[in-house]
């Protein structure tokens, strides 16, 4: 915010020996924030892992070899285990990685799935993996038309994470589920953020009886237990709604239920900051209410808000997942972590098809990295860490 003014005031060049010190002295709060954040290894790891998830969410069509929809059943390989990428087998080695062609079918006598490797002339049949394989076409980010996928095989299908009980590729489904779950949580958090900013901001800045009224309303929403509220709201979704409708209704529910906590925090932050001496000083310098909000309150507030939002994120993922698992949220054929996890909640899954748990790993890793990142951001945003001595 001050870059321009810095260049205008003529400043003699600092001696190189003091450069590091001078960098510290002229570092803005954001730069200090960033420096402190980078020192936190765990949080940085969380951030990197999360960027991976975001890439998956953005480019799911490209990363997933198949659409994961009903028309991509691999009927010969239902409930099949993950296929191993090989370079060598009995018949020798090759430079290109490949997988074996396999079949999987339910055997009534054995009460389980029988998996067999298809053989020709006594040798397993190979399916070669290829990068940027052309297959079904899609629009990347809704803009670029393409038919290239990150990888594919020259014959049939490849299932790195196995298939589900109707023969759909689990890898592709996990990729699309990542997008759904993250985006629902994102929209839910954003919606509750907007609501809390309005309610908390008005209550905190104006104060007085407006504050009392808004607080009463906030408390009213807060005391309703969230799980029954979720259930009631989601049970109201008509059965004939399309998946898109249910999707947006879910974000709405997540947003509507969760704003009060954040609203209270924003309010108390504003109430506290309003009394800070530098805000008083600005007022006595003739600054208008608008100027105080935009120049003095919001800049301090931004880092705080971002931290709050990131910390809130995993809880929204949990909410969506929990609702979908109990069958109140999204349903097949929509793919979300909750929907995928719902399919694993059978005894057979534990006994016969343990790879149904792969979405659980994604879910746990995502929630964990959000929490690590949130903690790291919060520590870095703490203005009392190492500044005042």
């Amino acid at each position: 915010m001050t870059e321009t003014s810095v260049t205008e005031v003529t400043v003699p060049q600092t001696k190189p020996s003091n450069r590091r010190q001078e960098d510290y002295y002229t570092a803005s709060q954001w730069q200090l924030f960033w420096t402190r954040f980078q020192r936190n290894r765990l949080a940085t790891v969380g951030g990197v892992v999360l960027s991976g998830f975001i890439l998956i969410a953005l480019f799911a069509e490209f990363i997933a070899p198949y659409s994961g929809q009903a028309d991509t059943h691999d009927t010969a390989y239902t409930a099949g285990p993950p296929q191993v990428i090989r370079f060598c087998d009995r018949a020798g080695c090759q430079i290109w990685p490949f997988v074996h062609e396999m079949t999987s079918s339910y055997s009534v006598s054995k009460k389980g799935y029988e998996v067999e490797t298809v053989e020709e002339k006594g040798q397993p049949v190979r399916r070669s993996l290829q990068l940027f394989y052309p297959a079904s076409s899609y629009r990347l980010l809704g803009l670029i038309e393409s038919d290239r996928h990150l990888f594919g095989v020259n014959r049939g299908q490849v299932h790195l994470f196995g298939t589900d009980s109707s023969g759909l590729d689990l890898f592709s489904r996990v990729m699309f589920a990542t997008r759904t779950s993250l985006s629902i949580a994102f929209l839910g958090v954003m919606l509750s953020f907007v609501l809390s900013l309005i309610f908390g901001g008005v209550a905190g800045y104006i104060g007085g009886w407006v504050d009392t009224a808004i607080q009463a309303f906030t408390d009213l929403v807060r005391v309703i237990p969230p799980i029954p509220l979720y259930m009631a709201l989601t049970a109201m979704f008509p059965r004939d709604w399309t998946n898109t409708q249910v999707y947006f209704a879910m974000t709405l529910v997540l947003g509507l239920v969760n704003w009060p906590t954040l609203a209270r925090r924003i309010r108390s932050y504003l109430l506290a900051t309003r009394e800070e001496e530098y805000v008083q000083a600005a007022k006595l310098s003739g600054a208008s209410g608008w100027r105080i909000v935009t120049r003095h309150l919001l800049p301090g507030f931004a880092s705080y808000i971002i931290v709050e939002l990131v910390i809130n994120f995993p809880y929204r993922i949990l909410d969506e997942t929990a609702l979908s698992i109990v069958g109140l949220g999204l349903r097949r054929p929509t793919m979300s972590w909750g929907v995928l996890l719902q399919e694993m909640t059978t005894v057979q899954a534990i006994q016969l098809t343990p790879w149904f748990f792969i979405p659980l790993i994604f879910f746990v890793v995502a929630v964990l990295s959000f929490t690590l990142l949130g903690d790291g951001l919060r520590d870095a945003a703490d203005p009392y860490a190492g500044l005042r001595r």
């Binding site: 205008e8 005031v9 800070e276 003739g286 600054a287 800049p299």
Partner: protein, 343 residues
């Protein structure tokens, strides 16, 4: 004598505490309860008292930073008479431009997210006092130089500075709009001794250069003694004694002033001291004692003190105190001419 720049008449600032919607009738905290004084151009009035005496509230009321319950505060600046308390819009801007404040905490009073240049420029930019950015920069550099700040440091953020430097930045911000009246609320209390002296000297130099009028609020009588022309002693929302600095320290009249003075530790351990030790602590301003508010702690309290409020008694030239003893003494020596400041 010239016209005072600030005249305060029977100023009262009361706050409701507790209370609120469905919470019953609030109690009234009488932070300032009938205070009158004047400050002339270029004069420094010191306001001294223990915590809870209401001295900070007086300072805030003078700059319309807190609502005035009753009484009047009149500011005479830039050929305009301002009735502080109800000012809005342009007239409020005149007050903000000509009356500024220096705060106690050099850490809390500077926004941590603005460069020093932006902090000092705040009054100019907020009130549109300059036409161009160049003019703003020029005035910022001018005032920074006056406050003995290194111009190289203007692009730094406050976290780069020590307490003394920060307080000089705060002083530069207060002076950038060329005010004629300043309220300094414990402006050196948070500083180290070796730094405090240099900030006080700087303030004094600036005060003489710019002919500033000051309300200098402090709990520290020694600092007041070195900095102020006139001193007013406050106790529990009221002024109990007011006098030119030399007079006050040479001949303190009110028992409270005497007690305050004798409580200050001298530097020499063997310095002779006629100690007036006060027992107890300052009572709550919600339920102030009747009569003379000091009677609960006064070492020389008389039977009349709890029942009757003392009138102002004249001790010397412009030296007055509100105490029954002073009153009777004054009556005895030379009949009071009723020139007293109203209490």
């Amino acid at each position: 004598m010239t016209q005072p720049i600030v005249s305060v008449r029977n100023l009262k600032v009361h706050y409701p505490i507790g209370g609120g919607f469905l919470k019953g009738k609030p109690q009234i905290l009488k932070a300032v309860d009938g205070v009158s004084f004047e400050i002339y151009p270029g004069q420094i009035l010191g306001l001294v008292g223990e915590s809870g005496s209401g001295k900070t509230t007086v300072g805030r009321a003078l700059l319309q930073a807190t609502p005035i319950t009753s009484g009047s505060v009149t500011l005479q600046v830039a050929d305009t008479t301002l009735q502080v308390g109800q000012l809005r819009g342009d007239r409020l801007n005149i007050l903000r431009r000509h009356g500024q404040m220096i705060f106690q905490d050099p850490y809390g009073s500077l926004s941590p997210r603005m460069t020093v240049r932006d902090i000092i420029a705040e009054p100019l930019e907020a009130m549109n006092l300059t036409q161009t950015r160049e003019e703003t920069n020029r005035r910022v550099c001018d005032v920074a130089e006056k406050c003995r700040l290194n111009l190289e440091h203007l692009r730094r953020f406050p976290h780069a500075f020590s307490g003394g430097q920060r307080q000089r930045i705060a002083i530069a911000r207060a002076l950038v709009s060329n005010p004629s009246f300043l309220v300094a609320d414990e402006a050196v209390a948070a500083l180290d001794v070796s730094i405090q002296a240099s900030v006080l000297n700087l303030l004094k130099d600036l005060q003489q250069d710019m002919n500033l009028a000051f309300l200098f609020i402090s709990h520290d009588l020694s600092v007041i003694a070195h900095f102020c022309d006139v001193v007013a002693v406050m106790y529990l929302g009221e002024i109990v004694e007011i006098a030119p600095t030399h007079q006050l320290f040479a001949r303190p009249a009110h028992p409270y002033t005497q007690a305050l003075l004798s409580a200050i530790p001298p530097l020499d351990p063997d310095a002779p001291r006629d100690r007036v030790r006060l027992s107890g602590e300052i009572p709550s301003p919600v339920t102030p004692p009747s009569g003379c508010r000091f009677h609960t702690r006064c070492p020389v309290a008389q039977p009349i003190c709890p029942s009757q409020k003392p009138k102002w008694g004249q001790i010397g030239d412009r030296h007055e105190a509100a105490c029954h003893l002073v009153e009777s003494e004054a009556l005895a020596s030379h009949s009071s001419d009723g020139q007293g400041v109203e209490a």
